[in-house]
C-alpha cells in the first residue's frame, strides 16, 4: 500500500518533471524512518514482524509511553529495557510516531 503510494507519487513527479529536471530517486525519507528501522532486527521491517511484539500500528502515545517506561525503570527486566536506554526521549518519540503510521495490528 505504502509502496504503491510512493510509486504513484514518483510516477507523477517523473511525468511532470520530464527528463530535463533533476528528478528525485525516491520520495524524501519520512521523519523517524531510519531510527525506527533499528527496531526491524527484532520486530520485523516497519515493526510488522516476524519477531517479538508487533509494534506497527500501535498508537504513538502508547508506544512512546512504553518505551519511556522501559528506558527509565531501574530494575532491568529484559533486553528491550537496555535497548531503550540507547535513545534520547526525542528519538523514542520520533520512532513511536513513525511506527504508529505503519500498517499493523500493534498487538
Amino acid at each position: 500500500m505504502l509502496r504503491e503510494k510512493f510509486a504513484l507519487r514518483h510516477l507523477i513527479l517523473s511525468a511532470a518533471c520530464g527528463l530535463l529536471a533533476a528528478q528525485p530517486v525516491c520520495a524524501a525519507p519520512p521523519a523517524g524512518r531510519l531510527l525506527a528501522a533499528q527496531s526491524g532486527q527484532c520486530h520485523g521491517a516497519n515493526g510488522n514482524g516476524p519477531g517479538f511484539e508487533n509494534i506497527a500500528g500501535e498508537s504513538a502515545g502508547e508506544l512512546y509511553h512504553e518505551l519511556l517506561e522501559m528506558k527509565y525503570r531501574t530494575r532491568i527486566e529484559n533486553i528491550m529495557d537496555r535497548q531503550a536506554r540507547g535513545y534520547s526521549d526525542a528519538q523514542l518519540l520520533s520512532i513511536a510516531k513513525y511506527l504508529a503510521r505503519q500498517p499493523g495490528s500493534g498487538d
Binding site: V25, L34, A37, G40, G44, P50, G51, Q83, G86
Partner: protein, 434 residues
C-alpha cells in the same frame, strides 16, 4: 585483485566528487545503479532496504555462494543441537520480493576511478558499472606468526558452513579425558561473545554426552573476557567448573595444524584432540584493497560508511572500522551489520537525491548467547552519532558513541532467554533476507 595506488586514490577522489556534484538522473537517463558485494547480513540488508526505500534504484548483489550460512546460532550446529538447514538463508525473497538482481560470482577487481567492478562468475568475467558500490565482504583471517596452518585440520568454524561441519565431526569424535582447545583472537573480531559461547556449549555437550574428564581450554589473546563478563565468568567458574579452563593473555606464537599443537605467550598445548584455532581477523579481500587501519579494517565515515577518498564506495559490516570512543568500539556482528546497512542505504538515497545526510543516527547490537543446551544470556549495545572520546576523555572527533552497554542480569540467564534467542535470530534473519 587490483592494487589501488595512492595516485589512483587521489584521481578517483576528484572524479567521483565531480560526478556526484550532479544528481544521477542528470548524468544518465537510466536509473541509478548500486552494486553490493557480499550476501551476508550487511549486504543482504542494504540490498533489501535500498529497494524497499529507493524507488527506481537498481540493485545488484554479488555473492559467490548460492546461499548464506549464518554464523548466528552456528555454535548450536557444532554441538548437533540444530541442523545446518536451520541457519541456511537464500536470496529468493530479495529477488522476487524486492527486485534485487543477484549475480553469483566473486568480485575480482575494482576500478574506482571508472566506477567499475569486475566479477568472476562460472561463465567468465563480467564488468558492472555503478553509481554507488557497497562492500560487505565480511572477514578474512591472518596467518599465525609462525608454523603451519591448515584450516581443514584445525577448523576455525568462524565462517559457517563446511568449517562448522568439520568442527562438529571433530567434537563428536572426542572421548573421555580428551582436550578441546580453542583460541580467542585479539579484538576486534567477529561476534565478541561468540568464542565464550562456544566454550560453554561445547562444555555442556561434553557433560551431556558423558565424556568424562574431557576439558575445554580457552586460549584468549585478550587480557580478559571480551563480552558478557558476568555471564561467562559465572559459566566458566560455576556452571562449567572443572570442564572449562580459561587462559587470558594467550597470544599465539606458533601453530602446527597437523599435530594439533599450539604455542602461546601463556600456555602451550601439543596433540590436542581438537584444536579450534580461530585466527586473527582482518577485512576481506576487495575491501582491504581500499586501505586499512592498524587493526586491519577499513576506516569509514560514520554517517555514510563511505571510504576516505572514494565518495561513492561504502564499506559496511565486519570489514569496516567505524570511528568510536577509545575502548568502546562498535562490535562486529550480524545485528550491527544490519544496523549499518540501513544507515548506509539511507545515506546513498539521500546522496542520489542531492539531500544532506541525516545526522540523527543510531545503531545497535543485541544478541542471545547459549550457556547450556537449555539456558541463554543476552547482550545489548547502543551507539549514537556525535562526539567520540579518547582514553583521557578528550573529544577526538565525530563518530558512533556508545551510549549503553549491558548484559543479562543473573536472574535472566534462563530458559526464557534461550527461547527468546530463536525469536531474535529468526527476526534478524527475516529483516535481513526476507
Amino acid at each position: 585483485m587490483q592494487h589501488i595506488s595512492r595516485r589512483t586514490f587521489l584521481k578517483s577522489t576528484g572524479m567521483a566528487l565531480t560526478a556526484l556534484a550532479l544528481p544521477p538522473t542528470l548524468r544518465a537517463a537510466v536509473a541509478p545503479r548500486v552494486v553490493v558485494v557480499g550476501g551476508g547480513f550487511g549486504g543482504a540488508t542494504v540490498a533489501k532496504y535500498l529497494r524497499l526505500w529507493g524507488g527506481n534504484v537498481q540493485v545488484t548483489l554479488v555473492e559467490p555462494n548460492a546461499q548464506h550460512i549464518a554464523c548466528i546460532l552456528s555454535n548450536l550446529v557444532v554441538t548437533g543441537t540444530l541442523p545446518m538447514s536451520r541457519i541456511t538463508l537464500d536470496y529468493a525473497a530479495l529477488k522476487t520480493g524486492y527486485g534485487v538482481k543477484v549475480l553469483q560470482g566473486r568480485a575480482s577487481a575494482l576500478d574506482p576511478a571508472g566506477n567499475r567492478l569486475t566479477v568472476t562468475t562460472a561463465a567468465g568475467h563480467r564488468t558492472l558499472q555503478y553509481d554507488h558500490l557497497v562492500l560487505a565482504p565480511g572477514v578474512d583471517f591472518a596467518p599465525p606468526p609462525a608454523g603451519k596452518w591448515n584450516q581443514n585440520q584445525t577448523p576455525h568454524a568462524w565462517q559457517a558452513g563446511a568449517q562448522t561441519t568439520l568442527l562438529k565431526n571433530q567434537l563428536a569424535a572426542m572421548r573421555n579425558n580428551d582436550q578441546f582447545v580453542m583460541t580467542v583472537p585479539k579484538a576486534p573480531y567477529r561476534c565478541p561473545p561468540g568464542p565464550y559461547e562456544r566454550a560453554c556449549v561445547v562444555a555442556d555437550y561434553l557433560k551431556r554426552t558423558k565424556r568424562r574428564g574431557a576439558t575445554v581450554v580457552v586460549l584468549d589473546a585478550n587480557p580478559d573476557i571480551q563480552a558478557e563478563p558476568m555471564a561467562f565468568n559465572h559459566a566458566f567458574n560455576v556452571t562449567h567448573a572443572g570442564v572449562i579452563v580459561y587462559v587470558p593473555h594467550a597470544e599465539v606464537q606458533s601453530l602446527d595444524s597437523a599435530t594439533h599443537s599450539i604455542v602461546t605467550s601463556a600456555m602451550s598445548v601439543s596433540h590436542a584432540k581438537v584444536l579450534n584455532y580461530i585466527p586473527t581477523h582482518r577485512a576481506a579481500g576487495i575491501a582491504a584493497a581500499l586501505g586499512v587501519n592498524p587493526s586491519g579494517f577499513v576506516p569509514v565515515h560514520p554517517l555514510s560508511y563511505v571510504v576516505a577518498g572514494h565518495a561513492n564506495v561504502h564499506v559496511i559490516g565486519d570489514s569496516c572500522a567505524v570511528p568510536a570512543s577509545d575502548g568502546k568500539a562498535v562490535p562486529k556482528s550480524g545485528h550491527m551489520a544490519n544496523a549499518e546497512a540501513k544507515v548506509c542505504a539511507d545515506a546513498i538515497l539521500r546522496t542520489l537525491n542531492g539531500d544532506a545526510l541525516d545526522t540523527n543516527i543510531a545503531t545497535s547490537s543485541a544478541c542471545y548467547s547459549p550457556i547450556t543446551s537449555k539456558t541463554a544470556s543476552w547482550l545489548s549495545a547502543n551507539f549514537v552519532y556525535g562526539d567520540i572520546f579518547d582514553a583521557k576523555g578528550a573529544v577526538k572527533g565525530k563518530g558512533m558513541r556508545r551510549v549503553d552497554l549491558g548484559e543479562a542480569p543473573a536472574s535472566q540467564i534462563n530458559r526464557d532467554s534461550y527461547k527468546d534467542m530463536f525469536t531474535w535470530a529468526d527476526s534478524l534473519f527475516a529483516d535481513s533476507f526476507i
